[in-house]
Amino acid sequence: MAGLFNSPLVTLAHKSLNFRTQRHDVLASNIANIDTPGYKAEDLVFEKALNKALHADKPGPLQTTNARHLDGNQTPSLNLVEAKRINSATPFVKFNGNTVDLDKEMAKLAENQMMYTAAIRMLQHQFRLMKTAVSEGR
């Protein structure tokens, strides 16, 4: 037990909220620049990396017979996960070189907001559990 607030779930929610906030920035930038000539739409990807890090406590592929052996597990721990900024793929480019697709951006925005709310709910739930524990179930 690494402490009350250090459970992987809380760290996951914390990381997720941070990334979602940054992703919202990126998506809002895309929408703001929908009519800017030559602007390239961007996106932030982190879900796979987070998912991988969440299961990083599983042992790696190598057998270990000593505590000092390395098991070949290369995934970084949860709080070291970085988000990657990529150019979002668009099948068509507008005549002014702009690659923002409004429908896609709005969909991503809505998805991002919902996932953010989901992470908040998860944290709220976690905190409620802790509260129950510290108040001895009363």
């Binding site: 979602r20 940054q22 919202h24 703001a32 620049n33 009519d35 709005m106 925005l109 709310t117 908040i120």
Partner: protein, 148 residues
């Protein structure tokens, strides 16, 4: 702060689109104007938009470098330019601004073109407003965290 920067980005988009709507309205209002202070008919105007990264303080720049994540990109109106297409000639010999052959130089404004631009500008404005509200909703959800 990230949340505030999301809000400023959306606001920059809204203000740029409003500027576009203003310019389009100006074009439509002056679609028949044959006299201007510069002489000649009114000429169509257009807004030029450009993407700019937020002004960053030293600390923000350092942090951005550290995380290899640049912050949000705002949009900015960098200028309003005149459309240099030639004026449209209309045969109207009774008009006081008609030339010797009876043709009047009318503004190079095409109302249909302006209406299309007006529609895209107002849709883009709405999209930015939606992004603003999303950011607001997220911030409010985060503020609710500490409560019961």
């Amino acid at each position: 702060m990230s949340f505030l920067s999301a809000l400023t980005v959306s606001v920059s988009g809204m203000s740029a689109q409003r500027q576009r709507v203003n310019t389009i309205s100006e074009n439509i209002a002056n679609a028949q104007t044959t006299r201007t202070p510069q002489g000649g008919p009114y000429r169509r105007r257009e807004v030029i938009l450009a993407a700019v990264s937020n002004d960053r303080t030293f600390e923000q720049e350092l942090r951005a470098q550290d995380r290899s994540l640049s912050t949000a990109t705002e949009v900015k109106v960098v200028g309003i330019v005149q459309d240099n297409r030639p004026p449209i000639l209309r045969y109207e010999p009774g008009h006081p601004d008609a030339n010797v052959e009876g043709y009047v130089e009318m503004p190079n404004v095409k109302v249909i073109e302006e209406m299309v631009n007006l529609m895209t500008a107002s849709r883009s404005y709405e999209a930015n407003a939606a992004a603003f509200n999303a950011a607001k909703g997220m911030a409010q959800a985060a503020l609710e965290l500490g409560r019961g």
